[in-house]
């Protein structure tokens, strides 16, 4: 009989460095991203807050967390990026962090990073100088990458249309999966190049703008081909989905905290409404969900931070669990605020819109459960 050593446990807590990072991001957001500012920005038709983005990039340097130091980044891991996403979710910050610093960066990291083309792009994204967007519909789940809607000819000219790309309008660098003559390819395309057109879509989630991208013989620079291109795309989607759980966690946590605060102060029938058991039980049940979502989100960030073969399972679990928790938290937040929750001035609606859109982003809970069924051998009928 062999002597078994205990399996290495995932580290589900936050390290001192992660706590410090959180404090820095939270302080910045408290300063520059209060709900009134977010709302005013959205109403001005300016979906992103470039000042906030610059501050995140230069003052705290979080845009390059996933980029290795040798390539101009901070050389951190998915664990730290997850902490940033928690805070951005908590503040509903209108910045393209998920799209540029996570999805686009991870796609590039899957290419040959010693090529100047790739390295230069990574450095630009890491510094936040350029915004990147991965040209897939935001609803795409990891593993759901069949033939791309964009065709590449032998000369690298790209033609096709990709719908509902997140943060495409502000992006300077487009990473476009395409079907080439010999199979899948991943291309870099300058947003300003000839033959590139984006049309904005009115999004449900005002804080994460969407656009349709049309390419008409646009010049693409191939970054990867074949299995490598497919793997880079899959890893980007997996990382995006796994870290989205942390954004959902931050969002849910805000909704719970705010609801507890409000119902503890709001008085009806001569008592704080939060002292009524019917409400207390709902908030306590939500607390349990949020505490559970934290464990799931930390587990997926931890699995993504190394080359853990368990990452696909951890991501599927986190996404199928955290997405509905975020939606429920936002729905409860609105209901327990009463009429105030239905107003445009109160920020609760921003959270609901983001939570519902996030539920569809990078694979629905049901889609992730299907993935899981395959991973844990629970076959469909």
């Amino acid at each position: 009989m062999t002597l078994t050593t205990p399996e290495p446990e995932p580290d589900l807590l936050y390290s001192a460095e992660e706590d410090a990072l959180r404090a820095a991001v939270r302080a910045l957001l408290a300063d520059r991203c209060d709900p009134a500012t977010v709302l005013a920005g959205l109403e001005s038709g300016r979906p992103h807050d470039p000042g906030l983005w610059r501050a995140l990039a230069t003052e705290i340097g979080v845009t390059g967390l996933l980029v290795p130091e040798g390539l101009g980044g901070a050389g951190a891991t998915a664990r730290e990026a997850a902490v940033v996403l928690e805070e951005l979710g908590r503040a509903m910050a209108p910045v393209p962090y998920l799209t540029s610093a996570i999805l686009a960066v991870t796609a590039l990291l899957g290419c040959e990073t010693d090529r100047a083309e790739v390295a230069d792009s990574l450095a630009a994204l890491a510094e936040g100088r350029t915004l990147g967007a991965l040209a897939v519909p935001l609803t795409t789940a990891p593993g759901d990458t069949g033939p791309a809607p964009v065709r590449a000819d032998a000369a690298g000219r790209l033609t096709g249309r990709v719908t509902s790309v997140a943060d495409v309008a502000g992006a300077g660098l487009l990473l476009v999966p395409a079907e080439g003559p010999g199979g899948p390819e991943l291309h870099a395309v300058d947003a300003t190049a000839d033959g590139v057109r984006t049309e904005p879509v009115t999004p449900l989630d005002l804080t994460r703008p969407l656009g349709h991208l049309t390419l008409d013989a646009a010049a693409g620079r191939p970054l990867a081909r074949g299995d490598r291109a497919r793997a880079a795309l899959d890893r980007a989607l997996l990382t995006g989905a796994g870290l989205l759980a942390s954004e959902q966690l931050g969002l849910a946590d805000w909704c719970l905290t705010e609801t507890v605060r409000y119902t503890g102060e709001r008085t009806q029938f001569g008592r704080p409404v939060g002292s009524f058991q019917a409400l207390k039980h709902r908030m306590a049940a939500l607390w349990l969900d949020v505490a559970s979502a934290r464990a799931a989100a930390r587990n997926s960030a931890d699995a993504l931070s190394g080359n853990d073969p368990e990452a696909p399972l951890a991501v599927a679990v986190a996404q199928s669990f955290c997405a509905p928790v975020a939606v429920r938290a936002a729905e409860e937040c609105i209901q327990l605020h009463g009429g105030l929750g239905m107003t445009w001035e109160h920020p609760a609606h921003l959270y609901l819109k983001r939570a519902k859109a996030d539920e569809l982003a990078l694979g629905t809970p049901g889609r992730h459960r299907e993935t899981l069924a395959g991973l844990v051998d629970l076959a469909a009928p």
Binding site: M1, T2, L3, T4, T5, P6, P8, E9, P10, D11, L12, L13, S15, L256, V260, T263, G264, R271, P272, G274, S275, Q277, K280, H281, M283, A284, A285, W287, L288, A291, S292, A293, R294, A295, A296, R298, N299, V317, S320, F321, G366, R369, E370, L372, A373, V376, D377, L378, A379, A380, P381
Partner: protein, 406 residues
Amino acid sequence: MTDAADLRRRTADLLAAHTPGTTDRLDFLRARFDAGLAWVHFPQGLGGLDAPRALQAVVDAELAAVDAPDNDPGRIGIGLGMAAPTILRYGTEEQKRRFLRPLWTGEEVWCQLFSEPGAGSDLAALATRAVRDADGNWLVDGQKVWTSSAHLARWAILVARTDPAVPKHRGLTYFVCDMTDPGVEVRPLRQITGEAEFNEVFLTGVRIPDAHRLGAVGDGWQVARTTLMNERVAIGGARTPREGGMIQVASTAWRDHPELRTHDLHQRLLKLWVDAEVARLTGERLRQQLSPTLNSVRAGGTPLGQPGPEGSGMKLAFARLAQQISGWEVEFRGEAGLTYDDWTLRRPEGVDFTGREAGYRYLRAKGNSIEGGTSEVLLNIVAERVLGLPPEPRTDKDIAWKDLPR
């Protein structure tokens, strides 16, 4: 500082001196206790080594790998989960030395004489009286109910009222009661599953020496809270592997019976699988917070052996899951779900969820949201003590217990 390597060495020494298989089971367990490998986070001399709680996993894995005898935790759960942490915290040196070793080896089974016909959720309302005699010892009269394992127990933890003239939380005192004493009568109470895991216990003139009091006179509620918090973790916080426990039974049934599968049941099973995995991770996270672990040594956790109110969350999640999964399983079984394995009145030694059939699991799991504090009461605890929401209006707070309406 005791680390994993040190514990492996100590475990190897234990195994070298006491070969499993040839050593008598009890001798082995006693030797393990004396080597500090029983619960490594307990103090030296009391079965532990003052080591981080998480390192217990190292010892357990090494011993499981060679099939070393274990102390049958399902049978002595109340001793391990509730009595031991309370004795450790409130017991005198003499009490700790007397009780902890046979408790851990399973030589002495413990039960919990808390609930009464008139006091369940409102435990502090209990009516069992303890009156001091001229020698300073105690005479106890009253009735307890739902007492699991009383029929097997040598000792009980007991809360009784020692001062009816003060408000209910202040007049209680905590004792260790000898179940073999004259005046203790145990009657089986048949339950929903057909068996009698719990009992009614009648206490008539039971004499408890003052040396068996735990904590100060009148401090019984404080002491009982330690027991109750640990109880929630003990019920909901058992460490399970991925797809362990009840979800394993359900998943295996799914794999073994393709002819019973439907799309609806598939969707629900996957959801339950995710919930079970997340509950496992949440428990793991709670444990990592409670004590420094192998790869995350952090300060700021709750003091050793003292779970906070977050433990209530684990118990809530566990109860919900157990009920949903067992309900799913009966439904999945189809025609077999209409049958039951055995209705004969049995006196089980502990609960065996996986050893019996779907119907048993379904019925027994109904107790998970009642035993050790109902889910309603635990939601109150989370709302008030974790979230800080305003308390319910309290009408009984400043009234002497004897004047409360009953």
